[in-house]
C-alpha cells in the first residue's frame, strides 16, 4: 500500500508504525508453526534451543526423535535395519499404526463427504430448491455446533444406533465405520461451502446450451458441469480430509484402541509427557499442510482462470 503524495509527516510516521504492527502480527501468526521445525532436531529432550543449536554445531542436532517414531511400540527395536526390521516397524510401531489409521479414516470420510456434499451442493444451487436457506443452515451446522456436543451425542447414538426405532443391532463405537461417518459429517459443511461458492459463478445457460446441442443430462453433467466445478470439489475434499486428519475429540469419545489416529496419539503425548517426538510429528504435519495449502492455491488460480473464460 502506497501513501498518497499529500500525506503529512505525522501520517508517514503512523504509516510506518502501522507496517511494524502488521509485521508483528504476521510474526505472531507464523512463528509458532516454524519454531517446532528446528526444535524437532534437538539432541536434548528439552524444548529450548541449546548452545550447540544456536552456534549451528552439528552435534546439537540429531534425527533421534524421528527415529523414535519408528521404534516406539516395536517389540524388538534394536537390531540391524534390514527388510525384516522395516516390516516389523510397519506392522508394530505405534506412530505408524496411527498414521495408517489417520489415512484410512481420512480417505473414506473424504470420499463420503465429497460425494454427498457435491450432490447436495448441485441441488442447493438450483433456483428451484425448496427451503433452500433452512436446509443449508442444517447442513452447515456441524461446523458451528461445539464438537464436544457432537461427540457426546455420537457416543450414545453409536453405542446402539437402532435404539431410535426401539431395536438393538450391534454398535458403531470402536469401529472404523463409526469414525468415518462422524468425520464425514464434520467435513460436509466445507464441501458444501466450497462447491456452492464455485457454482455461484457458474453460468446455468451452459447446461441449456449442452442440452440444445443434444447432450443427455448426464453427458452435460460430466462434460460441462463437472470440469468447471472440479476445483471447488477438490478443495472441498481437501478441507474435508484435513478436518478428519486433525480431528481428536470424536476419536476420543467413540474410537476403540484399534482406531488410534495421529491426533489421538499426539493428544496422549501432550497430556502426559511432551517428548520431542511430538515435535517430530508436528514438523511432518506442518510440511503436509504446506503441501495441501499449495494445492488449494493452485486450484483456486485454475478455477479463476476457468471462470474467467466463462461469459458472465
Amino acid at each position: 500500500m502506497a501513501l498518497p503524495v499529500y500525506a503529512s509527516p505525522l501520517e508517514r510516521l503512523w504509516h510506518r508504525t502501522y507496517l511494524v504492527i502488521c509485521a508483528a502480527i504476521f510474526l505472531f501468526l507464523i512463528s509458532p508453526i516454524l519454531i517446532v521445525i528446528p526444535l524437532s532436531f534437538n539432541v536434548e529432550p528439552y524444548f529450548s534451543f541449546t548452545k550447540e543449536m544456536l552456534s549451528l554445531d552439528p552435534s546439537g542436532f540429531s534425527m533421534r526423535w524421528y527415529d523414535s517414531l519408528l521404534t516406539v511400540g516395536m517389540t524388538t527395536p534394536d537390531g540391524p535395519r534390514d527388510a525384516n526390521w522395516w516390516s516389523m516397524a510397519w506392522a508394530e510401531a505405534t506412530w505408524v499404526q496411527a498414521a495408517k489409521n489417520s489415512i484410512i479414516i481420512g480417505f473414506w470420510s473424504t470420499i463420503l463427504a465429497t460425494f454427498l456434499g457435491t450432490l447436495a451442493a448441485l441441488g442447493l444451487s438450483r433456483p428451484e430448491m425448496p427451503w433452500r436457506r433452512a436446509v443449508m443452515a442444517v447442513l452447515i451446522s456441524p461446523m458451528i455446533v461445539p464438537i464436544i456436543i457432537i461427540a457426546t451425542g455420537l457416543f450414545f447414538f453409536y453405542s446402539n444406533p437402532c435404539s431410535v426405532v426401539g431395536l438393538s443391532c450391534g454398535r458403531l463405537t470402536s469401529t472404523y465405520t463409526g469414525i468415518v461417518m462422524a468425520h464425514a459429517t464434520l467435513g460436509i459443511p466445507f464441501v458444501i461451502i466450497t462447491v456452492t461458492a464455485t457454482l455461484s459463478g457458474f453460468d446455468q445457460s451452459l447446461i441449456r446450451a449442452g442440452a440444445s446441442l443434444g447432450a443427455s443430462p448426464s453427458r452435460t453433467f460430466f462434460k460441462v458441469v463437472l470440469p468447471l466445478i472440479t476445483p471447488g470439489v477438490v478443495s472441498g475434499a481437501l478441507f474435508a480430509f484435513v478436518t478428519s486428519f486433525d480431528e481428536v475429540v470424536a476419536v476420543l469419545f467413540i474410537a476403540g484402541p484399534e482406531q488410534q489416529t495421529i491426533p489421538r496419539q499426539m493428544w496422549n503425548g501432550i497430556r502426559e509427557a511432551i517428548s520431542p517426538a511430538i515435535l517430530a510429528v508436528a514438523t511432518i504435519l506442518v510440511i503436509i499442510s504446506i503441501a495441501l495449502l499449495a494445492t488449494v492455491e493452485l486450484l483456486r488460480r485454475r478455477s479463476e482462470r476457468l471462470r474467467g473464460v466463462t461469459p458472465a
Binding site: 489415512i103 484410512i104 472404523y176 476403540g256 484402541p257 497430556r271 502426559e272 509427557a273
Partner: protein, 358 residues
C-alpha cells in the same frame, strides 16, 4: 476411476493390520504402565501364547462405567484405585472374582492367607500398594530440605511452585495433615463441613502457586522441566525418574497416603475367561515380584517379599523404596475407600467450584 479403485482396495487391505488382541489391559501409562507391561503383559503372552496389549488412560476407572452402560466394552482388564474398584463393583459394572481360584503363594501359603488384608475384594485383586507422596528437586534447595508434610505448604521457607493432582482425593487429606491433623483423625475431620472448609482454607494458602497435573507421568515431568519445585506424585514415578534417568528427586514419606491398586474385569469384557487367567498370573507371587522389580510399589502378597527384592538394574534393593517399608509408614494414612465411595462426587463438585473461582 480405475486408479481410484486400486487405491481404495489398497487402503481397505490396510484395515486388516489391526488384528484383534486376545486380552486388552488398560492401565495408567508412563512408568507404571511400562512396569505392568514388562511384568504381566509380556510374560503372560509368552507363557500362554495369547496376545495381550496394554493401553493407557489417565484414569482407567472413568471409562469403565460408560463402556458397560453403553454396551461398548473394549477392555478386558483394568487397573483401578481401591475406592473405584469398590464403587464400580457396587454399581454392578464389574465381573465378580472367584477368590478361591487364585493360586497359592510360591511358598505354598494358601492365597487367602498370603494376600495382605483387604487385598482381594468381590470384584478385584490387588497388584500392589502405592502411595501419594510429595517429592522435590534437591538441586533447587541448597540449604534445608523439606522433610515434613507441612513443608509442602510453606512457601516462605521453601519458595517455588507446587504441583498437585487435579482432584479432591488425596489433596484434601494432604492439606489436613499439613494443617496438623493426625492421620487417624483425617477422615473424621473431613467428614464434617468445617473439616472440608479447613482443608480448602489450607489449600487457599498456596493456590496461586499450584500447577495442577492430571496424568501420573506429568508429575515427574513438571519436576524435570523445572516448572515446579515440589510436587505430589505417585511414589513409583519419582523412583523411576530418580533411578532410571538419574534425576535428583527426593521423596518425602512424611504424610504419605497409600492404598491398594486393583485389577478388575469390566462386565461384558470380550474375553472374560482369558482376562481371569491373566489376573491369576499377574497376581501370583511371581507376577507381583516381577512388577515390584520394575516399579517401587509394595507387592500385596506376603510371599513376594520373602526373598530380597532387587530392582531390574540388579543392584538397587527395593525394600526401603516401598510405601510399605516400616520406616516410611511412621506418619502415613491409608486411603478410606468408604469415605471416597460416598463423598467423591460431592467433594469433586466443591473442588471444581473452588478451582474455577479466582
Amino acid at each position: 476411476m480405475k486408479r481410484l479403485l486400486i487405491l481404495s482396495t489398497a487402503l481397505s487391505a490396510g484395515l486388516a493390520f489391526a488384528a484383534n488382541a486376545d486380552v486388552t489391559v488398560m492401565s495408567w501409562g508412563g512408568a507404571y504402565g511400562a512396569a505392568q507391561t514388562e511384568a504381566h503383559v509380556k510374560p503372560w503372552s509368552e507363557k500362554t501364547g495369547n496376545k495381550a496389549v496394554m493401553i493407557d488412560n489417565e484414569n482407567p476407572a472413568t471409562p469403565i462405567k460408560a463402556m458397560v452402560e453403553a454396551g461398548n466394552v473394549t477392555v478386558d482388564v483394568a487397573s483401578v484405585e481401591y475406592a473405584d474398584a469398590i464403587r464400580l463393583c457396587d454399581e454392578g459394572v464389574l465381573e465378580p472374582i472367584d477368590a478361591a481360584a487364585l493360586p497359592a503363594g510360591a511358598d505354598g501359603t494358601a492365597a487367602a492367607d498370603d494376600f495382605l488384608p483387604g487385598a482381594v475384594t468381590d470384584c478385584g485383586v490387588s497388584t500392589d500398594i502405592w502411595a501419594n507422596v510429595f517429592a522435590y528437586d534437591s538441586s533447587k534447595f541448597t540449604g534445608e530440605k523439606p522433610s515434613k508434610v507441612a513443608d509442602f505448604f510453606d512457601l516462605e521457607k521453601f519458595p517455588g511452585k507446587r504441583g498437585l493432582k487435579k482432584g479432591a482425593k488425596a489433596v484434601l487429606e494432604l492439606a489436613l495433615m499439613a494443617d496438623g491433623v493426625a492421620p487417624a483423625d483425617v477422615y473424621t475431620v473431613l467428614g464434617t463441613p468445617e473439616g472440608v472448609d479447613r482443608a480448602f482454607a489450607k489449600l487457599d494458602t498456596i493456590k496461586k502457586d499450584v500447577v495442577w497435573w492430571e496424568a501420573g507421568a506429568q508429575a515427574p515431568q513438571l519436576l524435570a522441566d523445572g516448572e515446579v519445585a515440589m510436587t505430589t506424585a505417585y511414589n513409583g514415578r519419582i523412583f523411576a525418574a530418580a533411578i532410571e534417568e538419574g534425576k535428583p528427586f527426593e521423596i518425602v514419606w512424611d504424610g504419605q497416603i497409600y492404598e491398594n491398586e486393583m485389577y478388575v474385569v469390566p462386565k461384558g469384557a470380550p474375553n472374560k475367561d482369558l482376562a481371569m487367567d491373566f489376573i491369576k498370573y499377574a497376581t501370583s507371587t511371581e507376577g507381583l515380584r516381577a512388577q515390584a522389580q520394575n516399579i517401587s510399589y509394595g507387592p500385596s502378597r506376603k510371599s513376594a517379599m520373602k526373598e530380597e527384592l532387587l530392582y531390574k538394574d540388579g543392584k538397587t534393593v527395593m525394600a526401603p523404596h516401598l510405601p510399605t517399608a516400616p520406616e516410611n509408614m511412621t506418619n502415613s494414612l491409608l486411603t478410606s475407600s468408604d469415605f471416597w465411595v460416598d463423598k467423591n462426587s460431592e467433594l469433586n463438585e466443591r473442588f471444581n467450584a473452588w478451582l474455577a473461582a479466582n
